[in-house]
Amino acid sequence: MTTMIKVDNATKAFTLSYQRSLKQTVLAKARGRKTHDTFNAVDDVTFSVHEGEAVGLMGLNGSGKSTLLKLISGVMRPDSGSVLTRGRIAGLIATGTGFDNNLSGRENLYLNAAILGMSRAETDRKFDEIVDFADLGKFLDTDVAYYSSGMKARLGFSVAVNVDADIFIADEALAVGDRPFKRKCKKRMDEIVASGVTMFYVSHAPGSVRTLCNRVLIMENGRLGFDGDVEEGIHYLHYDDNGDDSGDDDELGTDI
C-alpha cells in the first residue's frame, strides 16, 4: 500500500511573547517575570495515511488540529521529527486566500489557481468548470472588491475544489453561500470522496465525519490521543453523548 502522509515524531513549538517592546522586556526581566513561554502545539505525533484513506481529524479547540494540518500542507515545518507527503496536496484550506480586491474575478481565478499550484494550461482547461461552479454570471469580469462575501467565498471554493489533488485536505466550513450552493458543494464533496482520493478532513461535526471518513485521529493538547475507527473516535470524544447533534450539526457546514 502506498503511504501518502508519513508523520514521524513531529513536534512544533510556539513561543508566546508577553512583551513586545524593549522597555517592557527590560522591566519584566528586572522584576523577575517571565518574558516568554513556549508550548508544543503539536507534540511528538506519529502516524501515516495510506492511499485512499479518508481520515477525519477531530479534537477540541486549541488541541493542535490546525497546526498539524499546517505541517501537512507545508505552511509550517516541524521543529523536530518529520512530515513527508506524496503528490500534490490541495483542497479546502483557506479558500480565497490571496484574492486581490483590485483585480477582476477572472484574474483572481487564475491567480488563486496558480497559488494552489496549477499551471496556466491546467487552469485554462478547467476554466469553464470553475466558472460554472462559482456561478458568478456577469460579475466574473468585475473587480472582486465589489463582490458580496458569498460570491467571494463561492469563487474561492470553486477554484479550490477543482484542483486535482493526490491528498485532499479540508479545513473549513464545507458549505458556503446560500442553500443551492451548499447542495452543490455537498454533491461535489461526495464525488471527491467517491473518487477514492486520500482525504484529510478536520471537523467538529460527527455527522460529516461519519459520512466522509473511514478513520479518525483525535488530538488532545498537541498529542495524538486516538487513532482508529470512526464510531469509537466519536465516542472517545464524547461527541455522541446527547441528542443535540441531530440538527444542522450533522450536516456539512458547521465546522471550526
Partner: protein
C-alpha cells in the same frame, strides 16, 4: 442552470493511478528556496503582473503615470540645475548626471524597501498556504525593475537629443551597474524581509538606510567633489559602497556620452579601474545574496507563526 451543472461536472477529478503515485517521492510537503521560485515562475509572473496592474488601478491615465512622474521630475531637475543654478558651467549636463543616478537608486530602494515589507504585506497568504517565501522579495525586485523601464526611457530621450550614441563599453557599464544593484537589492531585501517579521524595527532601519543611500552616492554631486574635498583615502572608502559604483557605472553608460568630450569627462569624473571595481562589487553582492538566502532559509521556518 443547476441541471447543466450537474452534467458538466465530471464525477472523477482526474487523478493519478496508484502506480503513478508510487513513482512519486515521499517528500516534505512544500519545497522552498530560490530554485523553487524559478520552478514556479508562472505564479511569480502573475504576482509581478498583478502588483504592477494594481498600482494604477482606478486611474484614468493608467500606465501613462509611470512616464509622467519621472518626466516631470526630470524637467524639475533640468530647470533647477541647468537653468537656475547654472551648474552647467562647471559640469556638463548635470541634470542627466543626477537623473541617471536616480534611476538606479530608485531601482535599488524599491527593491530593498519593497522586499523588506513583502513578507509582512503578504501575511494572509503566507500563514495559510504553502508558497515559497522567497517569492515575495523576488517579485518586488522584478516589479521595481519593471518600473525602472519608463525612467530609463525618460533618461534616453534627452540623452539622444544631446547627441548620445550607445557604445559597447557604456552599455556594458550600465548592465554591470544594474546587475550589481539587482543582486545587492535582492540580498538585502531577503535579509531584511525575514528580519522584519521578527522585529518590525528592521523595516524602519531599512527606510533609514535607503535615505542614507541617496546621499552617499555621487548623483547630487560629482564624484570629483569627494576626491577634491577629502583626498584619496576617504574617496577610497567612499567607493566601498557598492551603490556608489553602480551609480558611476550608469553615469558611464549614459551621462558620459552626452558630454562634448566623453574621454576627457571620463578621465576627470570617473574613478580609476571602474570596471574592476564594479566586477568586484558584483561578486561581493552575489556572495551576499547566497548568504542572505542561507539566513533566510534558516529563519523562514519560523515565519508563519511570527507573522
Amino acid at each position: 442552470m443547476s441541471e447543466r451543472l450537474v452534467s458538466s461536472t465530471p464525477a472523477e477529478p482526474a487523478r493519478r493511478t496508484v502506480s503513478e503515485l508510487d513513482a512519486l517521492p515521499l517528500a516534505p510537503p512544500a519545497a522552498t528556496g530560490l530554485s523553487e521560485v524559478v520552478r514556479r515562475r508562472y505564479l511569480l509572473g502573475m504576482l509581478v503582473r498583478n502588483t504592477i496592474k494594481s498600482r494604477y488601478q482606478g486611474t484614468v491615465l493608467g500606465w501613462v503615470w509611470s512616464y509622467l512622474q519621472p518626466a516631470i521630475r526630470f524637467c524639475m531637475f533640468y530647470f533647477l540645475f541647468q537653468v537656475m543654478i547654472g551648474r552647467g558651467s562647471s559640469m556638463e549636463n548635470f541634470a542627466i548626471h543626477l537623473f541617471a543616478g536616480m534611476v538606479i537608486v530608485h531601482f535599488f530602494t524599491e527593491t530593498f524597501n519593497g522586499g523588506t515589507q513583502s513578507l509582512v504585506q503578504n501575511r494572509s497568504l503566507i500563514t495559510k498556504l504553502p508558497v515559497p517565501r522567497e517569492m515575495f522579495p523576488v517579485a518586488r525586485m522584478l516589479v521595481a525593475g519593471w518600473h525602472t523601464i519608463p525612467m530609463l526611457i525618460i533618461l534616453l530621450v534627452p540623452c539622444l537629443l544631446l547627441g548620445w550614441k550607445p557604445d559597447l563599453v557604456g552599455m556594458a557599464a550600465a548592465l554591470l551597474g544594474f546587475s550589481l544593484t539587482a543582486a545587492l537589492g535582492l540580498a538585502l531585501g531577503l535579509l531584511f524581509s525575514v528580519g522584519n517579521v521578527f522585529m518590525r524595527d528592521v523595516g524602519k532601519i531599512a527606510q533609514t538606510l535607503t535615505q542614507f543611500v541617496t546621499f552617499s552616492v555621487p548623483m547630487m554631486y560629482p564624484y570629483t567633489l569627494v576626491h577634491e574635498r577629502f583626498g584619496d583615502s576617504v574617496a577610497g572608502y567612499y567607493l566601498f559602497n557598492p551603490m556608489a559604483e553602480a551609480v558611476l557605472l550608469i553615469q558611464r553608460g549614459f551621462w558620459i556620452g552626452t558630454t562634448s568630450d566623453p574621454d576627457a569627462t571620463a578621465a576627470v569624473h570617473m574613478p580609476d579601474h571602474l570596471f574592476t571595481r564594479g566586477l568586484i562589487m558584483l561578486a561581493v553582492s552575489l556572495v551576499l545574496l547566497v548568504l542572505a538566502q542561507r539566513i533566510f532559509a534558516r529563519l523562514e521556518a519560523k515565519v508563519p507563526e511570527r507573522l
